[in-house]
């Protein structure tokens, strides 16, 4: 018996619906159809009246969630693709994210963003938007890399009293598997050492954790021991765990699938440079997607985003300096 990353997300939502009558799910095609990726499969049948199809209106979908949250509900919103959340951007960053600060009334909404590139998906079904949302005060941004975290962080997201942007990577949906669902988990805001090493730290999150781990395996054959830190949550960002890792290795490579400008990798490097400059044996480096829209063709897409191969190459360069 094994469970996929996608099934874990479905199971977390089922449990949230089961355990908390305040929870409901709202999004396009989430009802009887079970969602574009089947993340809400059978939930409308199991929880009648609590898994609701929405019109194609991302702005109104998020606005409705905020109103329901004011009334004490805990809505889970499914954006069909992270890319479309930009249509609801205003309600997320200006309505949901400011509500508590302005009024002291909490806004417990969870916005699920199926994000990241998959082969053939092109510019508008591949985006990674965690940095955009993390830029705004008043939101928590989660980026699970494992089946266990997909489950436990989603439950944690629904449980907290603040808006959560839950970035679930589409590439992990079907292929990433675990034996069973976790019974305990690290809290939101704690990073995790995915793989231990002493020569270089790779800080990353979501699907890139697995690319980085593959790069580390490749580099191990060359005698290098690479530490991989999985941020789990990009906001709040666990600076302590990152700096502690850099203290062990002296070298930092940050990897993100998102675009480079002002992103999570830049933030990590800024923090390590400010707080742990003396720990660094070489200038910190980062590897991101190229600064273009995400290309459609597999040949272009594979070159656009970081891969195990390009991460290993960047790590080798850094190990030589």
């Amino acid at each position: 018996m094994s469970i996929t990353y996608l099934e874990a997300i479905r199971e977390a939502q089922a449990r949230a619906l089961r355990d908390d009558p305040r929870v409901f799910i709202y999004g396009q095609d989430v009802g009887e159809f079970g969602g574009a990726f089947k993340a809400t499969k059978n939930l409308a049948r199991e929880y009648p009246g609590r898994v609701l199809d929405a019109p194609i209106s991302e702005d109104a979908i998020v606005g409705l969630a905020v109103g329901a949250a004011i009334e004490g509900m805990r809505p889970i919103i499914e954006m069909q693709f992270a890319d479309f959340s930009t249509v609801g951007f205003n309600q997320i960053v200006n309505q949901a994210a400011t509500l508590f600060w302005r009024t002291q009334v909490p806004c417990p909404i969870t916005v699920r963003l199926p994000f990241g590139g998959t082969s053939g998906s092109g510019p508008f079904h591949s985006q990674s938007l965690e940095a955009i949302y993390a830029h705004y005060p008043g939101v928590v941004v989660l980026t699970p890399a494992t089946v266990e975290d997909a489950y436990s962080l989603l439950l944690a997201a629904v449980a907290i009293d603040d808006p959560v942007i839950f970035c679930e990577h589409k590439l992990l949906y079907y292929h990433l598997k675990a034996e069973k669902l976790p019974t305990e988990a690290l809290p939101i805001g704690k990073a995790r050492i995915h793989r231990e090493g002493r020569d270089l730290t790779i800080v990353t999150y979501s699907a890139m954790v697995h690319e980085a781990a593959a790069a580390a395996t490749e580099l191990a054959t060359e005698g290098w021991e690479i530490e991989v830190v999985d941020l789990r949550s990009v906001k709040p960002l666990d600076t302590d765990t990152v700096v502690a890792s850099v203290a062990r290795t002296g070298r930092l490579l940050c990897v993100g699938e998102a675009w480079p400008w002002g992103g999570v990798t830049a933030e990590v490097i800024a923090r390590v440079t400010a707080e742990g400059y003396g720990l660094l044996d070489a200038p910190p480096q980062r590897l991101n997607a190229k600064d273009t829209p995400v290309p459609y063709h597999p040949n272009l897409w594979a070159a656009h985003r970081p891969t195990a191969r390009s991460i290993a190459a960047a790590a080798r360069n850094l190990l030589r300096t």
Binding site: P55, S57, A60, A68, R102, D162, G189
Partner: protein
Amino acid sequence: MLPTVSEPPAGEVGALREAHLGAFRFMLRARLLDDKFAALYRAGKIHGGVFLGRGQEALSVAVGISLVKTDVFAPLIRDGAGRLAFGEPMLDAIRTYLGSALGSMRGRDGNVHRGRPHAGLLPMISHLGAMISVVNGMLLARQLKGISGTVGAACIGEGATSTGSFHEALNQAAVEKLPLVLVVANNQYAYSTPNARQFACADLADRAAGYGVAAHSVDGTDLTDCLATVGAAVAGARAGGGPQLVVANLLRLCGHGEHDDASYVASALKKSGLGRDCLKIAEDILLREQWADAAEIAVWRSAALREIEDHVAQVQREPAPDPFAEAWTALSSQHLSEGQVQ
């Protein structure tokens, strides 16, 4: 529409009289409070903008007075009268404009951006049309919780009907058959943009059919018409009739804000029926119907002025927000604020 024409029974006349008297006093207090804010603004006592409801009090008060305390109200920038009628304490307005730390927004937000969400009064964000779907969410949540008979009203201007948020939210309310009353104050200008540059349909009320919702048109200068029409729309929503679109025609009798001299407003419009002052018309109704006399109205006016002066004097003695006492975190879960994670 005028009550005197059809000679309603005595009980209804009494109710009509009470509604007009109550509404007029809210309108008067709102107008005088606006005048005070304008004076404080000119004296440099207010940080940021001041936005008045002059010319829109009849419509606004009709919304506030038609709702009950357990309803939801999302006012916009010209709804001082409706806020008072819905039950917003006058102190909330003064404290927010003057930035008192004791106000509901505690200096974190100002002027018209005030409210008490748990009292059903939503604090608007500046992005027009964005509050409508929030009202929808509160109404849907109540349906999910099995609470019935509640109504939500959202006020917007004709300019906001051009936004995607307006379209998405009105369609959403129609799909869910929510008891939403969407009140459009067509005051002829969105800041400086005249209607001819804002929309091309003959009447904004015609749009209701396209959404599958009920339409109501009202003369926004006439308190009697506003009370009857908005009241009917609220009753229709409460009775299960689904969303109601109310379009009121009127003219903004001031600038967009007090920084704006409104020199772009066409003089022909000012001289037209739209340019009538709804407060003066309401006063004329009271006098004509002999529901009040000039002496009574003068007493109400002086009582309102005293109330305003007393509140302003009180708030001016209240503490301003202290940056050193500020938590500087936007999250309710303070342990998850950046720099706080242990």
